[in-house]
């Protein structure tokens, strides 16, 4: 019945096989160095900042990899994976090597898990070797997901029987339902399809959607939980330095749109991953359009050197 669980199991199975097949070499150790260092950053920052950091997307195989990592860590040749890997953010434990080999970085990234964003891609700016990652983690602000409850619903009845529902058919053809924990809102349609918004993580979104489904069930409908899917993820972060938007739109004209008369931020449509970033003069960045957390991290790691390098001009 719970499609989502099957989906997750499948993908973990596939990708763990993939990772192990890569063999040791330089790939897995580098991968896990970053993971372990990332974990250390997270652990550190989560206690200090009280931010909500969700480790649940990291693969379970991490522990096995760290053993191989320890052996390989002593290898001086462990390259610094370029900015294309999104999650791995802490560069404390790695010396910033002077020259990053983009080719090598590119090949390293073929060992992809759904959670570690090492997608094979050519670096965006092959001329400038970026030796460090940003150290900034974008925070998820909103997740939009959809699920199919699998049965037609009587919206009038739901609006009548549920405390947390509002229904105004003249304005909108769905019941708007809210729950307190996780603080979310759902749009429930008479077809049985439901949209859940407002959660701050994928798991929260799923939990919230399940709660809504339970409410509908309790009201007497044979509700199920089919095809749960995250449709959109929104995250934000702050690079803590001001950004010359007018300059940026000159150098990145094909991908940027900056119209101060219409909107104060610069709209950057990244191609890979397909994410839209809103960049503001204050240094705050909003990332949206992702279906997976990894895409957000990757997009930010892609834009950060642009913002930084551009700032020095």
């Amino acid at each position: 019945m719970d499609e989502l669980e099957r989906y997750f199991d499948d993908s973990i199975a596939n990708d763990s096989g993939f990772m192990l097949e890569e063999g040791l070499g330089l790939q897995s150790p580098a991968h896990s160095i970053q993971d372990s260092s990332y974990l250390s950053v997270k652990a550190q920052s989560s206690t200090e900042l009280g931010e909500e950091l969700d480790l649940s997307f990291l693969p379970d195989e991490l522990s096995t990899q760290t053993d191989t990592a320890k052996a390989a860590e002593t290898q001086a040749a462990a390259p610094d994976v370029s900015q294309d890997s999104g999650i791995c953010l802490d560069y404390n434990s790695q010396d910033s090597t002077a020259a990053v080999d983009p080719q090598q970085g590119g090949s390293l990234q073929s060992s992809a898990s759904p959670f570690c964003p090492m997608t094979p891609m050519t670096p965006m700016t092959p001329v400038t070797p970026v030796t460090e990652r940003s150290g900034i983690i974008p925070q998820l602000q909103n997740i939009v997901s959809t699920v199919n409850l699998g049965c037609p619903l009587d919206l009038k009845f739901i609006a009548l029987q549920a405390r947390n529902a509002e229904y105004n058919p003249k304005r909108f053809a769905a019941v708007i339902m809210r729950i307190r924990e996780p603080r979310t809102t759902a749009l429930i349609f008479s077809s049985g399809k439901m949209v859940c918004t407002g959660a701050k993580s994928e798991e929260q979104s799923r939990l919230a959607a399940r709660k809504y489904a339970r409410v509908v069930q309790k009201l007497g409908f044979p509700a199920r939980f089919l095809d749960f899917k995250i449709q959109n993820m929104v995250a934000s972060c702050d690079v803590c330095f001001p950004i010359r938007l007018e300059g940026m739109v000159l150098t990145h004209q094909q991908l940027s749109s900056y119209e101060p008369e219409l909107f104060p931020g610069l709209i950057y449509r990244m191609v890979k991953p397909r994410i839209v970033l809103l960049i503001f003069v204050s240094g705050k960045v909003v990332l949206t359009g992702a279906k997976e957390r990894a895409e957000i991290y990757e997009a930010f790691e892609n834009i950060y050197p642009i913002l930084r390098g551009f700032r020095k001009q």
């Binding site: 900042l49 910033s96 150290g135 009548l160 010359r244 000159l250 119209e259 503001f280 003069v281 930084r308």
Partner: protein, 374 residues
């Protein structure tokens, strides 16, 4: 429209071409007449931009008298439909054409208030450049900034009591232009920036405040790069003092390298951009070239510093975007839900709390009927 704007033949032709293309395009086939008019305006706008004719959207808005949101919408739709990449308009280019709007020449006004447009333009352009360097322009609508600059330029070219007393409202009345509300804020911001520089003028004894800064504007603008350097140095020194006293313990590696390396730069715009950020690295710094105070603090003073550093970076630099200096306190989201797996048990009682009791439901239905009847 092109005739009114008195643009080149080419612009007229280009806009005609675009309009024809857009008219046929699927997204614009069945739109209202009003939208089609707006579309025409957008075509003119885009053609002007492509052929380097400085014009703001506000001008088009005035011409076609339409709702700004609608124009924005249509404009975005049109450029994506026709796949046009139009360069942005530099605000300084637009100033001259805007000043034509202001009826302040000696033909229109008495000697006291009149000003020739050449001087006015020169002064206003300098003010806008200063504003741009101080982060007042980026992200903001250009027209209120231009208005503020023209107003201040007009005041400073002949800072008589009469002129200084004239409010922006009155000025707009005299010049026969529509006042823009944000211009008042821009005036304050520009004055603030001017004060920061005015403080550094060696021959001014009294304190430079927003009230008396207008008299010094000419001097400030004339020597603004030198004043900027001095202001940066003073600011750096002040920061050093503060750090020595131990108040600010976040950045221990900031050096004076800025002064030595950056002052050599002669190109005004780039130097002022660089000098605007005392954290800028030119000379090698102990850090690895990353000026991000966040990472520095992570490396040295622990991540718990990060929040403070983030919140205060706007206060530590001499010039920062106003939205950073006056950052609103965001309500801190409580991290109530850590480590949610999504698979937790959902308690019955929680779900029941969302469902009405039978009595409640009856009452609700009754009240609804009553409301419908009344």
């Amino acid at each position: 429209m092109c005739r009114i704007l008195m643009v080149h033949r080419e612009i007229e032709q280009l806009s005609q071409t675009y309009y024809n293309k857009a008219y046929q395009h699927e997204s614009f086939l069945k739109v209202s007449l009003q939208k089609k008019e707006v579309l025409a305006g957008c075509c003119v706008l885009v053609s002007c931009r492509l052929l380097n004719w400085p014009i703001t959207m506000a001008t088009i808005l005035c011409l076609i008298n339409a709702d700004p949101t609608l124009v924005g919408e249509v404009y975005q739709e049109m450029i994506s439909a026709l796949k046009i990449e139009a360069p942005i308009v530099l605000i300084t280019d637009v100033i001259e054409t805007h000043i034509q709007e202001y009826k302040i020449s000696s033909l229109h006004l008495p000697e006291e208030f009149a000003e020739n447009s050449k001087d006015l333009t020169r002064c206003a352009v300098a003010l806008v450049e200063l504003a741009a360097d101080s982060w007042i322009v980026t992200g903001r609508k250009p027209v209120p900034i231009i208005m503020a600059a023209v107003y201040l330029a007009w005041q400073s070219l002949r800072p008589t009591k009469q002129r200084l007393k004239t409010s922006l409202e009155k000025f707009c009345q005299i010049a026969k232009v529509n006042k823009y509300r944000p211009a008042v804020k821009r005036i304050a911001e520009i004055k603030e920036a001017l004060c920061k520089l005015g403080k550094e003028i060696p021959w001014v004894r009294e304190a430079v405040t927003p009230d008396n800064v207008v008299q010094h504007v000419e001097d400030i603008l004339q020597h603004r790069y030198a004043l900027l350097r001095r202001a940066m140095r003073t600011h750096q020194d002040a920061l050093q003092e503060g750090r020595k006293a131990g108040f600010d313990n976040s950045l221990t590696e900031e050096t004076d390298s800025v002064q030595s390396s950056e002052l050599v730069e002669q190109t005004p715009n780039s130097s002022s951009v660089k000098q605007c950020e005392p954290n800028e690295e030119g000379a090698p710094q102990p850090r690895d070239g990353d000026n991000n105070p966040c990472t520095v603090s992570e490396l040295h003073s622990g991540p718990h510093e990060r929040n403070d550093v983030e919140l205060n970076w706007g206060k530590r630099v001499l010039f920062a975007p106003p939205c950073v200096i006056r950052a609103k306190r965001r309500r801190v989201e409580q991290p109530e839900l850590q480590d949610v797996t999504g698979d937790e048990e959902i308690s019955d009682s929680e779900i029941d709390s969302y469902i009405r009791t039978p009595q409640e439901a009856r009452d609700f239905a009754l009240t609804q009927k009553m409301f419908e009847k009344s």
